[in-house]
């Protein structure tokens, strides 16, 4: 009677199974502030500090980018958060929009 071989257990192949969360799959948006000739530079810096909690150095960097390059990307967020930021920025009458990141 032939002997029954012991079952051999092979190591499972190392398949990377990374499940992406809903958040990762959801579209993201850039929150952009656009230049205009009317908002004062120290006011724009103040608003960035207030809304994003940035220090003065970072806020001034983005303010200068708006002033010199015409726009600055302030954040990349999911729709809800991006919408929140645009509302906050527009409450101060800054020219801000959310644009699809892809």
């Amino acid at each position: 009677m032939p002997s029954i071989p012991e079952p051999v257990t092979f190591p499972s192949p190392a398949i990377e199974q990374r499940h992406r969360s809903d958040d990762e799959l959801a579209p993201t948006y850039y929150v952009i502030c656009w230049n205009d000739p009317v908002n004062l530079m120290n006011f724009v810096t103040h608003v960035f500090m207030k809304i994003f909690g940035w220090n003065r150095q970072k806020a001034e960097k983005h303010m200068k980018e708006v002033h010199e390059k015409g726009k600055s990307v302030l954040a990349r967020e999911g729709a809800e958060k991006a919408e929140f930021y645009v509302h906050q920025l527009q409450h101060y009458k800054l020219h801000a929009t959310m644009e699809p990141a892809e």
């Binding site: 000739p37 009317v38 500090m49 003065r56 919408e83 509302h87 101060y92 699809p100």
Partner: protein
């Protein structure tokens, strides 16, 4: 107008009598212009974008109504009390933000009424024209915004 102190969340400014009168008069004129439609995006073609834009405009209209209610309380005799040679303006952090939003709304409204000029120079006409009045209000609001923000720490 000069910032003379900040203790925690309380801000203090001194104003000469003319500045105090002008600030009170300016705040009474809010809102200077009617609402104008705001854009939520320049490039988003998602159908949800139209709904977002509607919500944004509703939010801005509601916010303006709330600021209108608060504007009258920002220059009460308690907030703007007499001192030697002028007035002392005392604002909480929230009141300061409200005042900044009101003043900048006036500034932007006047700028839009002027046709959104690229330069901020005075109009040439010397007679009293609506354009001159808007120009004056835009500059006056900007003066107070500039001094309220200052360059100090936030």
């Amino acid at each position: 107008m000069k910032q003379v102190g900040q203790k925690g969340q309380i801000w203090q400014y001194t104003l000469n009598p003319v500045e105090a009168d002008m600030l009170a008069s300016l705040l009474k004129q809010f809102p200077l212009t009617s609402d104008f439609p705001a854009k939520i995006s320049k490039s988003d073609t998602d159908p949800k974008s139209a709904e977002r834009e509607k919500l944004l405009n509703e939010s801005l209209a509601e916010h303006r109504k709330e600021l209108k209610k608060r504007a009258v309380n920002l220059v009460t005799s308690e907030k703007l009390r007499p001192i030697e040679n002028g007035r002392m303006l005392t604002l909480s952090a929230e009141e300061r933000e409200n005042m900044l939003q009101i003043l900048n709304d006036i500034r932007i409204g006047a700028w839009r009424a002027l046709g959104k000029p690229e330069t901020m120079e005075s109009p040439i006409a010397k007679d009293s024209t609506p354009a001159q009045a808007y120009h004056h209000l835009m500059n006056l609001a900007g003066y107070f915004v500039h001094h309220l923000v200052g360059q100090g720490s936030d």
